[in-house]
Amino acid sequence: MEGTRRRFLARVGAAGVVGVAGCTGGPSDTGGDGTPTDGTDTRTGADDETAVGMVYATGGLGDGSFNDQAQQGLFEAESAFEIASQEAQPEAVGEFGSFQRQFAESTDPDYDLVCCIGFLQTDALTSTASNYPDQQFMLVDGVVDTPNVSSYVFAEEEGSFLVGQLAGSLTTGEFAAGAGGTDPESTTVGFVGGVESDLIRKFEAGFTAGVEHADEDVGVVTNYVGDFNEPSGGKEAALSMFDGGADIVYHAAGNTGTGVFQAAQERGRFAIGVDRDQSLTKESYADVILASTVKRVDTAVYDAIEAAVEGVFDGGAVVSLGLEQDGVDVVYGQQLGAEVGADVKDAIATSRRAIVDGDISVPTDPDDA
């Protein structure tokens, strides 16, 4: 009995070693002379390297939208400048302050810039920034008014206005493309939000205003799922909208929006994506994604890092990124975009100019719309 067990263990061990050795990944350079390469090299680095710390929003990397978009900005900066970076993905709101402090206190390396992603970090950063006045921070989606924080906010309602106009124009006519089609009889569109908050309500306000701008008779049904990471809830909400006559549903619900795409495919209707070009990031739904509003969080991160590298960090500034600054925009779906009529696209381009010129003012609260 003992013997068998020992043999078994030996076999498992051997299999494990073989398995580990057979893995295709691992470091690309294990150090030919057998000297362990110090993993911390990438972070400590030379003196002329700019050290950047990233504190992501809860939800973490791999969300296919907000955090990934921020990381994209970091990647772009990494290929353009000599920088070393370290990333942190907090699991809860209480951890924001803890990570911000660790970056601010660190001396090896001494971080030149700490990027804080997401409006929930605002309160934690307000306290951290005043406790570490020598540390430079940047904040996305919120404003902290201290001389060492550069704040970036987006005009989400402006991008949402344009896709609202797109939805309002298409729902009244007969439009079929990819896996979807609209019902000319019914003139309703839908909006699915994640957790109801002022930020997500900006999307709703812009969308509603855009729909109204296209056609005053089109109704908008709205639903907040209460979660940014619950595709099944998003699907239920969208299904009931489609069954109630909606042709096109726009979402601002993070991963919950994946359910909206599923529902659109099931019912042969359309959806509009958010934050990134979702006909690319959610490729399997490209046949129902008419367009996406993009929010260039990557631009904000890149700009802040560039400023830190060049030593022109603008602390205390609030950078507002709207259509005019290319901070938000609309991208048509990879597969369906070409099918949208030129007249609709022209009208949207006209509205875009009008918003940039200030001729159209887009509300930020749906109650004001």
């Binding site: 691992g26 993993g39 929930l120």
Partner: protein, 430 residues
């Protein structure tokens, strides 16, 4: 010897283990979990891709013999566990260690909240009620505390304010958490509704209603987040030794330890505690012996809810300084803490500290290495699983083994007078 007999013998040994042996078993489990975890880190380090190796395993090279093989790994298991445990305490081994550092503060902060949620779950468990609803009770208590203290803070200020407001906030949290816990208690006692189902459902109701109230009634108009207006500093737990931005108070921690002692005394030294434990062990016998089973269920759930509510009050008055939706899952972690502690109130304090170390250590690992947080989560789960399993099998053994085999010797061996709640049960069993 058949497998069955072997299993029985193993269970028997666990059941009869003395306190020292149990401590040693826990330490051995911890060591085993670290070994297994290190293996997983290495395997994950091979499957991941990176530019430079963080850790290299090579065959030894005595007398300049050329190296036969070497393998590089993307993640360094030594660094991971070093950061997870030592990092969480702010490097106690390094010279110039300041016990009041930020990492230690995070550890103690998590510990302080988890002591209460752990006690909440443990107390209900001891009464034979599975309170999965500590999270909901915590949310209700936290919101009630934030709103009530915000209202009361306008009347008093300064040090007097702190002396009045903090106990007031804790009481409000306890009252609302207790009431919210009493609902599933009453449903179980008088309508025979399974408490697991009702408490889980009430968790959703609590967070849904809290979101509605914070959005539409108590919202801070100055913040884009769904949160109440921040409380003034004099309404919060005073930080005392730690720097104020760390969000930890020694007072809250001491309060947690006091609560653990209080629950211990309550269970062991009071008539109510005796009734509660008796109902938990053998409801029919307890009722036959004169215990009002219904009242005991409602009372224990109320008390359990109150402890959860105090956890919420501590979260608001120490960690955040306001109520914000998306409360971290302290209530669910409390279930793990209680199981880890074998439902012993004093053990809860230790288990909460271990949990605090793991939670705080996770952030340090993330900060100091390239290991993804998901992998650290796996390691955390492994450690908890390994440490909890012997205790779990011990409880199991006490149930499945025949009385004469499970009892007898053990009582003689440790005198049956171990200062430990779980063991004393044996004496009261009929």
């Amino acid at each position: 010897m058949s497998v069955r007999d072997r299993a029985r013998r193993a269970l028997q040994r666990l059941v009869e283990a003395s306190a020292t042996e149990r401590a040693l078993i826990s330490l051995a489990s911890l060591a085993a979990s670290i070994l297994v975890g290190a293996g997983i880190v290495l395997v994950a380090g091979r499957t991941a891709t990176c530019e430079e190796a963080a850790f290299v395993l090579a065959t030894p090279r005595p007398f300049g013999v050329p190296e036969l093989a070497s393998a590089g790994f993307c993640y360094d298991p030594v660094a991971v566990f070093d950061r997870l445990f030592l990092g969480a305490l702010g490097d106690p081994a390094s010279p110039g260690w300041d016990p009041l550092n930020g990492r230690m503060a995070t550890t103690l902060r998590e510990t302080a909240v988890l002591v209460f949620t752990g006690l909440s779950v443990a107390l209900a468990f001891r009464a034979g009620v599975f309170n999965i609803g500590t999270q909901g009770q915590l949310v209700v208590g936290a919101l009630a505390t934030a709103v009530a203290v915000l209202w009361a803070a306008t009347f008093v200020a300064g040090v007097v304010g702190t002396v009045v407001l903090v106990p007031f906030g804790v009481l409000v949290g306890a009252a609302f958490g207790g009431l919210y816990g009493a609902i599933p208690g009453a449903l179980k006692a008088y309508a025979d509704a399974n408490e697991v189902v009702t408490t889980i459902m009430l968790n959703f109701i609590a967070s849904g209603v809290a979101l509605y109230l914070v959005r539409s009634v108590f919202k801070d108009p100055a913040s884009p987040a769904n949160q109440t207006i921040p409380l003034p500093d004099h309404a919060l737990f005073p930080p005392l030794l730690f720097a104020p931005q760390f969000g930890v108070s020694i007072l809250a921690l001491l309060f947690g330890l006091l609560a653990a002692g209080g629950v211990f005394v309550l269970l062991r030294r009071t008539v109510f505690g005796y009734d509660l434990r008796a109902s938990g062990l053998q409801p029919a016998a307890a009722e036959y012996g004169g215990v009002d089973a219904r009242r005991t269920v409602v009372a224990s759930m109320t008390l359990s809810g109150a402890l959860g509510g105090i956890g919420g009050a501590v979260y608001v008055l120490m960690v955040l300084g306001k109520f914000q939706t998306d409360v971290p899952a302290y209530g669910f972690d409390g279930i793990t803490v209680a199981i880890l502690a074998g439902n012993n109130p004093l053990g809860v304090a230790l288990a909460a500290f271990l949990f605090g170390v793991l939670k705080s250590g996770t952030t340090v690992v993330q900060f100091a290495t390239d290991v993804p947080p998901q992998l650290v989560g796996v390691l955390r789960g492994l450690i908890i699983l390994f440490v909890a399993m012997p205790e779990f099998f011990r409880l199991l053994g006490r149930r499945v083994l025949p009385r004469n085999r499970a009892g007898g010797d053990a009582v003689a061996a440790d005198g049956g007078s171990e200062p430990d709640g779980t063991d004393s049960r044996r004496g009261e069993e009929p």
